[in-house]
């Protein structure tokens, strides 16, 4: 290790969603400070839900985040449905899964191609990359458009979904919509293969640090919606016991709260899901994992982007299967299932692109009286800082610009969604 002193202050990390700063202070080879600051404005969504009709919750909370709007809406609807005794139909479950894949694809493609690939290809952003490698950028835009069109066919638009409601949907895709989507998804297989090839060629930084990985899990499918909370350190918990896992605390340098479970920190997101649920990936996704050299349990956080590429392969294949099921059973215009009661408490959980998301509502006489949202990026912040503290001493001999880039790439690998994570609260149900 070098004995020098390094001061790094990256004000507003770029190519991430929201505002974050990296602050590193090394004096005479000793790490004095290594923080990921979150100066994003507090957002107060949980407080804003109080006193409002339960039907509005999913519309308000989708506005937490433009990138995972469908994820927030889905978790919100599940929380409300569990609180009010609503059991959605088999068709609703299928449509929600397909819709969710659309957002997963959109978000992963945005992150892997537009936010991470420029680093690995030595470009400052996707704009110069469009000139240097137009085929790569055009492929990304083509795949992203398919993902957005998939969401639009089911819920009107990706940001912010319209037709998703408590107990079902207010609009349904036609047979022609589904057939056209299915055809485009099949054509997209070539783009998925090309994506795997591209990331095979790119050099992912070597850095390993063992940690706890947490994701939702189901016995019979690669889980994104509902299921139980599962850890690579062993153990599983019903989603209603999420607070035993997340244990939120405040730190002064971040308006996003922090979490810890069985260790100092844990990780959620694509890498955590792949580590927890690898066996349930589609065979094509497993072979992509083989080609990309990811074996569970993988403890290199930079591989989160590779895990996203694996999930792109999974979601395209699973979307084709879901289209087949929906086409063979036919989509009917169903009225949303009415609530069995107007008071109750429920927890909705989804594994959104960046990890496990919890919404917990208390509803009284149809109005929300208490709300708590726990966001993936908030759960990852302690783990990112632990990675930074392990990484910095190992690379102190490099030039400050190189150290800065390594740290920025590390933070970016987690695909943080900062505006999402800055509105968590202490639970105090009225």
């Amino acid at each position: 290790m070098a004995t020098g002193s390094v001061k790094i202050d990256v004000h507003h990390i770029t190519r991430v969603e929201g505002h974050g700063n990296i602050v590193v202070d090394v004096k005479n080879g000793q790490l004095k400070q290594c923080d990921l600051e979150i100066p994003e404005t507090p957002r107060f969504f949980e407080a804003m839900l109080r006193g409002r009709p339960y039907m509005e919750s999913s519309h308000i909370t989708s506005r937490i985040c433009g990138i995972c709007a469908i994820g927030h809406a889905t978790a919100s609807l599940r929380a409300t449905e569990k609180a009010l005794g609503v059991e959605p139909s088999a068709q609703t479950v299928l449509l929600r899964k397909l819709n969710f894949h659309g957002e997963m694809l959109d978000s992963h493609i945005l992150h892997a191609y537009m936010l991470v690939a420029p680093d690995l290809l030595g470009a400052p952003s996707v704009v110069p990359l469009a000139k240097a490698a137009p085929d790569v950028v055009l492929r990304a835009l083509r795949m992203k458009k398919l993902a957005g069109d998939l969401c639009a066919a089911i819920c009107g638009r990706h940001t912010h979904p319209i037709a998703m409601t408590v107990g079902g949907f207010t609009h349904f895709p036609s047979k022609a919509d589904l057939e056209a989507l299915r055809q485009r998804l099949i054509e997209a297989r070539a783009d998925v293969d090309a994506t795997v090839e591209l990331f095979q060629k790119l050099k992912i930084p070597a850095f390993e640090r063992d940690t706890e990985y947490i994701a939702l899990s189901k016995p019979d499918e690669y889980c994104f919606i509902d299921g139980v909370i599962k850890s690579t350190d062993g153990g599983s918990w019903p989603v209603e016991q999420y607070r035993q896992v997340t244990n939120e605390t405040c730190v002064k340098h971040s308006s996003a709260k922090r979490t810890r479970h069985q260790r100092e920190s844990y990780m959620v997101g694509a890498l955590a899901r792949v580590n927890v649920n690898f066996d349930l990936l589609h065979p094509k996704a497993k072979s992509a994992a083989g080609a990309l050299g990811l074996k569970p349990k993988c403890v290199n956080p930079y591989m989160n982007t590779v895990a996203q590429v694996i999930e792109i392969a999974h979601c395209v294949e699973d979307s084709i299967q879901l289209c087949d099921v929906l086409l063979s059973r036919g989509v009917t215009w169903e009225e949303p299932v009415a609530p069995a009661r107007l008071s109750g408490e429920g927890v909705g959980a989804c594994d959104v692109p960046r990890g496990t998301l919890f919404h917990n509502y208390v509803i009284q006489d149809g109005l929300v009286s208490g709300a708590n949202c726990i966001i993936p990026t908030g759960q990852n912040l302690n783990n990112i800082e632990a990675d930074m503290r392990a990484l910095v001493p190992a690379i102190l001999d490099r030039r400050p610009e190189e150290i800065t880039l390594s740290l920025e790439m590390l933070v970016r690998a987690y695909d943080p969604c900062i505006s999402c994570s800055t509105h968590m609260l202490d639970v105090k149900f009225v």
């Binding site: 770029t14 507090p42 107060f44 804003m48 009709p53 519309h59 308000i60 704009v127 458009k145």
Partner: protein, 257 residues
Amino acid sequence: MAVRPKVAFFEFTSCEGCQLTVVDSLQTHPELLEAVEIVRFREAMSEKGDDYLIAFIEGSCTRPSDEPHLKAIRERAGVVVALGACAHLGGVNAIRNRQELSELRRYVYGDKAEWYETYPARPISAVIPVDATIPGCPIDREEFIRVVKAVLQGRAPQLPDYPVCVECKLKENVCLYLRGKTCLGPIALAGCDAICPTYGDSCEACRGLIPNPNIESLKNVLAEHGLSVEQTMAKMTMFLTYQTMESEAAAHGNGKR
């Protein structure tokens, strides 16, 4: 084209979904990148420039330290465009303005409330002059392209001044009131192609109100359709809390005189 105008994007309190919609608009309008030079777009690029002609600002002003940033952008930019409902109206951020600030902070951050700076959410026009607006939550990507074209040609962008009902009728949708639902379409500004009613959901007036809306009459209609005062107020304040509170304050002021 000789010199491409320099464009910068900024975000304050928001979900960044409008900037995401800007990225999406490039899927169908890649020519945009040939017409302008983007010098700052933190969500998508690492390059940072401080020399720009047009500034697009997403998000509401929600804390004192936002104000000098907004004023600095205003000083540098020739044209400031409010991007989306948070910047234009205050949007969903302003819902919390009805709650007592210290209680609100305690509810979310407990005994650590004083660590985090905040005050009531405002549209950016409450802090700096704004030259043009792209309404909506989120913005409409086609309207974004139209407004950019107008600004580049030195014209004031033309936004519709009629209600969502006009567009909804043109779409030949069955009126939601006839389907046993309620809707803010009669008082809400059009321009979204009535996308929410088209997908079976009520208009929530995310683009703001038409000139001279008959709000009292709409409240009566909502009551006739079974909405309680609370439900009616919730509907009117999802995106329009800031405007509702302003007009209440004005009415209160008039009452005193």
